[in-house]
Amino acid sequence: MDWVPAISRWIHLLAGVMWIGLLYYFNFVNVAAAKAAAADGTAAGISKHVMPRALFWFRWAAVVTWLAGAALLGRHFLDAFLFLNKSYYAIGVGAWLGTLMLINVWGLIWPNQKKILGMVQATDEEKNRARRVAFLASRTNTMFSLPMLYFMAAGAHTALYFG
């Protein structure tokens, strides 16, 4: 057994399920739930007790997923990211989508969520803008997740998808 790719693939899947599972929780459940909770005055509990914990596991699962994916690619990292080898075209597209999603998490979603949740100082105007940016970044990641998962599957079964 080749331990590094075997364990990397396992960790990539575990962390990936947590990352994308929480992304889908935010988009398929929490957006509507937060809106309904704001309407009946119960949103504070979600903001105080749920979101900080969910965002903690979300952003660090994203990092672990990416690092385990990079370890899994190993010496073929550049083959995938620079499309140097046709065998790595499919996983290369998946890897790029996953990378853009990681950048969205740490560059847009998390900094803006910190303003929304009051972890950093922000005016009401800044909070409103942060809500819109974080929402669209999260929705963009949900959109990207469909082709990302398709190409992750295709990367391991290229003949099935492109044969």
């Binding site: 988009n27 597209v93 669209l136 949900t142 959109m143 990207f144 190409f151 492109f162």
Partner: protein, 32 residues
């Protein structure tokens, strides 16, 4: 024009379209 990402189903449909487009591009690149 309304942003499709404002709607959950608009987001899912956009993702499906993006998947199809990327599939065609990769398929052509692989000579399929």
């Amino acid at each position: 024009m309304k942003n499709p990402l404002d709607s959950l189903w608009g987001t899912v449909i956009s993702g499906l379209i993006l998947t199809l487009i990327l599939h065609v591009i990769v398929s052509h690149a692989l000579g399929g």
